[in-house]
Symmetry: D2
Subunit: 384 residues, 4 copies
Amino acid sequence: MSDKTTIGVGMVGHAFMGRVHSQAWRSVGAFFDLPLAPRMAVLAGRSKERAAAAAARLGWADVETDWRELVARDDVQIVDICTPGDSHAEIAVAALRAGKHVICEKPLANTVAEAEAMVAAAEAAPGKSMVAFNYRRVPAVALARRYVEEGRLGEIRHVRAQYLQDWIVDPEFPLVWRLMRDRAGSGALGDIGAHIVDAAQFVTGQDVVGVSALTETFVKERPLAAGSEGPAERGSAARGEVTVDDAALFIGRMSGGALASFEATRFATGRKNAMRIEVNGSLGSLAFDFESMNELWFCAGGGGFERILVTEPDHPYAGAWWPPGHGLGYEHTFTHEIRDFLEAVATGAAPSPSFADGLRVQRVLDAVERSAADGSRYTTVEER
Amino acid sequence: MSDKTTIGVGMVGHAFMGRVHSQAWRSVGAFFDLPLAPRMAVLAGRSKERAAAAAARLGWADVETDWRELVARDDVQIVDICTPGDSHAEIAVAALRAGKHVICEKPLANTVAEAEAMVAAAEAAPGKSMVAFNYRRVPAVALARRYVEEGRLGEIRHVRAQYLQDWIVDPEFPLVWRLMRDRAGSGALGDIGAHIVDAAQFVTGQDVVGVSALTETFVKERPLAAGSEGPAERGSAARGEVTVDDAALFIGRMSGGALASFEATRFATGRKNAMRIEVNGSLGSLAFDFESMNELWFCAGGGGFERILVTEPDHPYAGAWWPPGHGLGYEHTFTHEIRDFLEAVATGAAPSPSFADGLRVQRVLDAVERSAADGSRYTTVEER
Amino acid sequence: MSDKTTIGVGMVGHAFMGRVHSQAWRSVGAFFDLPLAPRMAVLAGRSKERAAAAAARLGWADVETDWRELVARDDVQIVDICTPGDSHAEIAVAALRAGKHVICEKPLANTVAEAEAMVAAAEAAPGKSMVAFNYRRVPAVALARRYVEEGRLGEIRHVRAQYLQDWIVDPEFPLVWRLMRDRAGSGALGDIGAHIVDAAQFVTGQDVVGVSALTETFVKERPLAAGSEGPAERGSAARGEVTVDDAALFIGRMSGGALASFEATRFATGRKNAMRIEVNGSLGSLAFDFESMNELWFCAGGGGFERILVTEPDHPYAGAWWPPGHGLGYEHTFTHEIRDFLEAVATGAAPSPSFADGLRVQRVLDAVERSAADGSRYTTVEER
Amino acid sequence: MSDKTTIGVGMVGHAFMGRVHSQAWRSVGAFFDLPLAPRMAVLAGRSKERAAAAAARLGWADVETDWRELVARDDVQIVDICTPGDSHAEIAVAALRAGKHVICEKPLANTVAEAEAMVAAAEAAPGKSMVAFNYRRVPAVALARRYVEEGRLGEIRHVRAQYLQDWIVDPEFPLVWRLMRDRAGSGALGDIGAHIVDAAQFVTGQDVVGVSALTETFVKERPLAAGSEGPAERGSAARGEVTVDDAALFIGRMSGGALASFEATRFATGRKNAMRIEVNGSLGSLAFDFESMNELWFCAGGGGFERILVTEPDHPYAGAWWPPGHGLGYEHTFTHEIRDFLEAVATGAAPSPSFADGLRVQRVLDAVERSAADGSRYTTVEER
């Protein structure tokens, strides 16, 4: 590895996403032949003390308390944005203008306007940019995409996508930032609905062109939390309004003629992280559930569904890891993402999913909200 | 059994539904302690020859070629209607007016108006009437209903219902009566969508109050068939227009505040008879798939899902059959239905599902079609 | 059906097996084109009153209280033996000598000597004879056999068979006849172990040639029951010795070189009727679990396992029933068995499994008991 | 992390096990609060060039070509042995005598004698020692152990353990070191059978006390390979003898009275890494399959099996990682192992599994081989 060109990375944010991105930066070189050797140069966090502790634990060489300082550093060529959605646009645009490569967590932004600004900045800048829809890098999802590309499903008729969680079923769960519109943009819709919209578009190679939607906030008020993500203030007497959706359901049409249904909810008791997609085509079908992330179910020609353990050497990403049957976990989707991003940076290829892909998802979410506000009327996804 | 009052049954139609109803009439007395002993008196079919062959095979004592003759017979107290939907209203109304008890296949009728006439006739007549939503009598579905009634799920938040088949994926599959609006009323919507609407309402005890819908006919023309149900004319050069939906997707709201999604399709390659329902409540969840009809998946309090093999003596209907683990099949849902109907006839209780329940489903289907025709706009299900 | 030759059936015993055989005799003609029309002529049971009640309920025209009278009747051409194993040999031999056809429940007998006498009688008599290993007639098991015959598995390396139940885990469950050696011959071994030995031999087309075995009786004494099958005397103070095995484990070799493992137990808490078999070959594998009886899992060429819903028209027996995805239940395995037996009787073909097949299983069970008694030493299955 | 005491690690071997151990050493500190900060000091490999490349890739600071040099280094306090079984004893004993802590891959040794020497050295030395049965650190397996300890299963009746792979089904797969007795000690038995013996003993808290066994080598000769693990020489004309078992089946008794069955094979076509264990007790049961490693199936009181996604904060190890439903992979079992080992080293507690535990497994494997050689006779596992 010593003879490879080193590339400096600066990461903004060190909560859940920061932890998993760090693990990916730290591990990727041990498993993939990288064109560039990433150096974990600097971590930015608002609190010096907490940032320093995180950097020590997660393996970052230095810290900054202002992301602008991080962006300005000469030893940073890649900016990795792991903050909530409300700051994505500002950081990404600044980083791109400073000539950096940018990898940004999803959803790309909290509004279409912000996402458009980011795409414009990406197009004008020399750096590469990528939005971190990590589920594309689940080997089973990548294999699903491959099967569709190879024509094994024929003409696609149905997409059935769900992202089911249950972490706020309890009405005493506090009002964390993900439940506040000004921080998170939306609720289940933007947080997890964005993933299944991207996955549906990625796997099928088709765009969602129009939707009809319902959204709901089942629990309207919750105990106030101290800004933390956790249920620290469970049972607090002070209450605040939940300003995002708890669940979003929408049906729609894909550009290739398929019908699609989507459901994103945090109220599916017993479903922990059931990010699911099923695609039915004229020649075959496939189905996936992230709760069993190493499995892809594939049906050829109307027979039964085959449970493919996606751990064979010729499966996407799998050859870099362990022998067949030795599964991967959640974190590895990020390792794969970082690997592909470094490849794009090194070769000059356009990373995928691009900011434009992120904007596309944002436009779908926007159409969902407009439809929900307009009596569920079928609403066309805005084209650029 | 010899000391029981005998009750004469006349059945109209002897295709798929007639075969399975016959098996139920023939078997029910061997497994359940019935208050009345059914006598399989007469079978009506348009062709004398075919009706006689069917009667011999299925165990009916006599035949008629005109259902009116069957309705008029003194040895018939129960009329069992197993014809396509376009004749349900006429036969049922006539039978009820003649003082007979009526059990009628689903969907209750092809239009709301017909269904209303049937309900009116049922209310005015002395006979008992029931619509044959057999899936209510799957032991697992009946157990699901019991769990909801017992409050084990708490407040219901989500209903997720699908009925997925794939028997017309092949564009050369012929234009059978189920693909003709004038015979079948609608396509996947009325044939299988009706089942999941009824199941959702039955299991949750809530009504669907409004829907937003998309329907699609993927294959617009098909080879003409000779009226048979089978693919007899596969590849025929003559083509006819498919006048019903191939698939119907709708999302909506339940009377108790839950969000619901429904999908009925005959284009889900590899899904043979996947009649599925999942319900998520504030305290628990349950999930069912008819392809594994002896299993109910139940989640209590946010733990994992328990696979309950619904074959224990204290499970609905199961005690009448075999020891635990010795599963039932499709036909037994009809045996249970007939048993419950005979019980209602004998005791004077109102059978369930009633014609009014059938009308309620019909109104939901009607709202689906109106929404689909009106830009997917959220459409309230008409109240009586 | 009226123009078919009628053949009279007499059944001995009307408990669990009698109930399910009756349903098969009653239903088979409605689904299969039979060469002979069975007439349910007479049922034999020791108690006149109980036999008469059972006959009325199950559809038998007459009753006898002595099986010898039944065997002697002119209107009986087929004798169906549904009694415990200790009376099989006597009844079967008498019936065969009287020129009847015989279908006999499994295990064929309680001892090898009895089974040999039955085979000798069968070979000397004009009537056809069959032992009722009904699991061969599960469509999925029959399909498994077909796949092996077609060479899809290549050279067979492993057989893994289990029959897991849990109905006597509770030490207060009473001492029913199945727990008494003089009635049942053995415990889990003969009752359910016999099924998996037969299934393993049937599916692979190979014989078990030697075994090494362990058996155990976990609960040595149980409350005395009144001879009934049910837990009528649960908690009774009087206790009796359990004289059969609760569980039997054995490993062995098949005639074609495969290794095999078998486990039969009534102490597998939570497993209700898990009759399972997995076969691994050089080219493919298959797996089955009766708790999901409509499914066969098939692996071709080292890929994943495909879940085949064995309900397609070209699957064994399935075409006679319902459309794809509309599953069968436990009882239908008997319907299929009766159908095949009638076919054999009509055509003069040898029924399968024959009494010789039943004897072969008996010899394996005998080798298991001899091995268990001899320090688990590998014990060759006796050849005739 | 900077204020923690650092402890130097030296690893011997850098093939499959070396890669996964390295990832664990590199990652463990980012997820667990460690009492000691491991420093990846030195990697030993016979080829300087290959060891240096591996060290660079895997993150080791230095290399040695002789493991003795590694053991002698002052900056090494922990020796991690990732070589084939034939060198375990020599390295471990030397390291222990040099005052090092030792973590050693499984099986502990190739013979009981070697294992005994290792246990003796461990008992005499100040350093801590551990054998790397990593499957104990699958969260689901650790949870299984917890459930048994808490008495949720009651009295244990059955253990059913299998380790099924298929990587040498192809007779042209070359003669790699794992197929040579002098290198690997045994075949499937020691490589994967060891895991299920340890898992059975760990989960139940009972020892295997006696076994009856069959072993088989299906493919007696294979193409000669160049010593590599991979199929580099597939199809080579030169052949060598396979000197280990391809499959081992054994049944036996546990110290608490349970019956146990074990099967280890590399010929289970379609099973990639199916390390499975099921335990049935008088009060409950549990089942696990590593191919779905984030799931534990638990049955309480004879109800159905609950699928527990072992990713909740209160599940073993799971709280250190991601939110519920975000699964772990194979590598994390090693991260957990390293974490527990460091904890033991820091606190002076005895690591588990100890070398004595490894010896216990070795004695079981020895009894298996003796039984197989002695007509499968029941063979008592030697006590120390």
